[in-house]
């Protein structure tokens, strides 16, 4: 279904459906391959430890950002648009972490005729620790249109 969410059906406080990935070299290497992001700290445990992460190699911030995009797009559907994402990388993505994108609607408004939903977002690990707090804005269709 192309349209999953209509503006009128969303309220402040609504939760973004959770979107999760268990991350390890299978995810990181594929991302390195498409983004030409071959950096030793993401590929080699010894390099990761030299980079002051005791557990070794760790995941790319850019991939975590992509997971935020995926979570939003999965929620709103193919025909709606991710309009803005802002975030800060606050914690490391360790090997075998289960990352879950979470979000809460903080505002709904019409801007220049576009029906926008603003959310607080984060990517939490399996311990519930926030790793990437921020916000997002999506543009969705209106039932009135």
């Amino acid at each position: 279904m192309a349209n999953n969410v209509y503006f009128e059906d969303v309220s402040v406080g609504d939760k973004l459906p959770e979107w999760s990935r268990k991350t390890d070299f299978m995810n990181w290497n594929r991302y390195a391959a498409v983004n030409d992001e071959f950096v030793y700290i993401h590929m080699d445990d010894e390099a990761g430890r030299k980079g002051l992460n005791e557990q070794g190699a760790f995941g790319m911030g850019n991939l975590r950002y992509a997971y935020i995009v995926n979570a939003l797009q999965s929620w709103i559907g193919d025909e709606a648009e991710v309009r803005e994402i802002g975030c800060q990388f606050r914690a490391i993505n360790q090997k075998n972490d289960v990352l879950t994108v979470v979000g809460t609607v903080t505002a709904t408004e019409v801007v220049d005729g576009e029906h926008r939903i603003t959310l607080d977002i984060d990517v939490v690990n399996q311990k519930g620790e926030p790793t990437c707090p921020g916000h997002a804005i999506v543009a969705v269709p209106s039932r009135a249109a």
């Binding site: 991302y31 391959a33 498409v34 983004n35 992509a66 997971y67 193919d78 025909e79 994402i85």
Partner: protein, 169 residues
């Protein structure tokens, strides 16, 4: 009479000169369907990515009328790296700004998206130092610099604008 201390600043002359000045643009190779498909597979792994990124028949029935790229798709990946000619501009002309050698950290980013990228698009990127501010933090005197990256397609439409914050102290 006691000597008055110079006000502390981490702002360099180069920053002042470069503020608001766009660097030389970079142009991507044409985006291909295969680039988009592989990107989508990677960021959705191990699940099958949404059809809008790889199934032309499905995408033809959407408002986009063709497959599109995920907003985070990078058309500048895998550049051909050649030896820099002597006439090549210095880094500052590409939008890089000389700052003092300080400790630093990534302060995050905000990306605003316009139209989606599609196969055949050629994307032009340009950067500039947009602004900065200095203030006292728990790290001491701290400089926050805001750099702006803009991507437009071959029709001049905005693809995205990224404002990145660098923290130096």
């Amino acid at each position: 009479m006691s000597e008055q201390a110079e006000p502390e600043t981490l702002v360099t002359a180069d920053m002042i000169e470069r503020k608001g000045v766009w660097g030389e643009p970079r142009v991507s190779p044409p985006v291909s369907e295969s680039d988009i498909r592989k990107w989508a597979i990677a960021v959705y792994w191990p699940e099958t990515p949404p059809a809008i990124f790889w199934d032309a028949a499905y995408a033809a029935g959407t408002r986009w009328a063709s497959t599109i790229a995920p907003p985070d798709f990078n058309p500048f990946a895998w550049p051909i790296v050649t030896k820099k000619p002597k006439s090549a501009p210095e880094p500052a002309a590409q939008g890089e700004v000389k700052t003092r050698k300080l400790r630093g950290m990534n302060g995050g980013q905000v990306e605003t998206y316009g139209v989606p990228m599609r196969a055949g698009d050629v994307i032009t990127a340009r950067n500039r130092l947009r602004d900065w501010e200095e203030r006292q933090t728990r790290l001491g005197h701290t400089l926050f610099t805001y750099s702006e990256l803009e991507w437009r397609n071959q029709d001049g439409e905005l693809i995205k604008r990224r404002v990145s914050t660098a923290i130096r102290y």
